[in-house]
Point group: C2
Chain length 205, copies 2
């Protein structure tokens, strides 16, 4: 498999982390999204929405959207529960991640630590951070009662939420206010076959 | 089942439309989100994220996030494909809907037609509408080649995307630029057991 990706992306890292936990090998093809490399005609032919990551299967099929790739790769593994109510809980947290969490936690990090600040971004920063703290508070409340988000074990719900939470401080968030979240981050980082977000060992030209 | 909802919400309407297409009865409990009724202590006890819709099952379990409710209700029906690659395509479009479509198409509609405009909202409107048009263009490109988003038949991917697309003009979007999208909207509105977004026949006190 080839993962079309941008190394600092938490959305890409979700897939890299799951692939590593599953013990699956892949190649990482890098695009500098700050330079617009995910908007080229070539890239738009593999994802018309112009966003990394895109998972390319061995047979040449392409799958865009990080949480769709998590879903597909996790089938028939412990990271996707068998019970349909638990599956629905996983989808709930994947939706929460894409709607309430990622736009408010990933964007400040991207602006402050990667792409640079602009007046239009600065005007949105305080509101994004307020909503990002609200998302972290929802996670804290949930993780006070259980070690993982669904089914008392590590699933793709945790992997999806881990990706941008563990680097939230790069977006100006103080995680010390969320002790249950910090404990959960620690549990994930101790998994066997864990890889860090900047691991580029799968990188190809 | 009880759907905790706000009648103009496209996110709630997704679930109402699927329930109707499935021929399932339910009761609709209404919250005026403009008045903050989804932020009360009572509401937060059923969804700590403070957002409608929430599906309440007959046994008292609660499920937040509209696309999670679609996933759960569609199990073992024609609206959720059996093939895992097709399932991943559905999840891809549900993710696209929550990340690239809904925030850019639903928010302008909510501001212009329901909640009212504020200076902070006005400052974001042009950018939202630009990104909303980009999402509609991605849909148009896909629907030029096929009648439905996945598996050549109506699935929850279509239902999720239909909800806010069919009322996009309330957010200032001109759908006449997207003939394939308009044809697809028409195919969905012709389904047997179709209900409109303002159908309040399930409403309870």
């Amino acid at each position: 498999m080839i993962l079309h990706d941008y190394l600092p992306s938490g959305n890409g890292y979700k897939i890299r982390l799951l692939l590593s936990l599953l013990g699956k090998s892949y190649q990482l093809k890098h695009y500098d999204i700050v330079k617009g490399e995910s908007r080229s005609a070539e890239f738009l032919s593999i994802n018309p929405n112009g966003k990394i990551p895109v998972l390319e299967l061995d047979d040449g099929r392409y799958l865009a959207e990080s949480n769709a790739a998590l879903f597909y790769l996790a089938q028939n593994s412990a990271f996707w529960p068998e019970d349909s109510w638990q599956q629905a809980q996983v989808i709930k947290w994947l939706s929460f991640e894409q709607y309430s969490h990622e736009p408010n936690i990933a964007s400040p990090r991207f602006w402050l630590s990667h792409a640079g600040m602009t007046p239009a971004r600065q005007a949105q920063l305080a509101d994004k951070q307020q909503q990002g703290y609200a998302a972290l508070a929802v996670m804290e409340q949930h993780l006070k009662q259980q070690d993982y988000f669904v089914a008392n074990r590590l699933t793709i719900a945790d992997i999806a939420l881990y990706a941008y939470t563990h680097v939230a401080e790069e977006g100006g968030f103080d995680l010390q206010q969320f002790p249950a979240v910090l404990s959960w981050l620690g549990r994930i980082a101790k998994q066997s076959n864990y890889v860090s977000i900047d691991d580029d060992s799968a990188l190809i030209n």
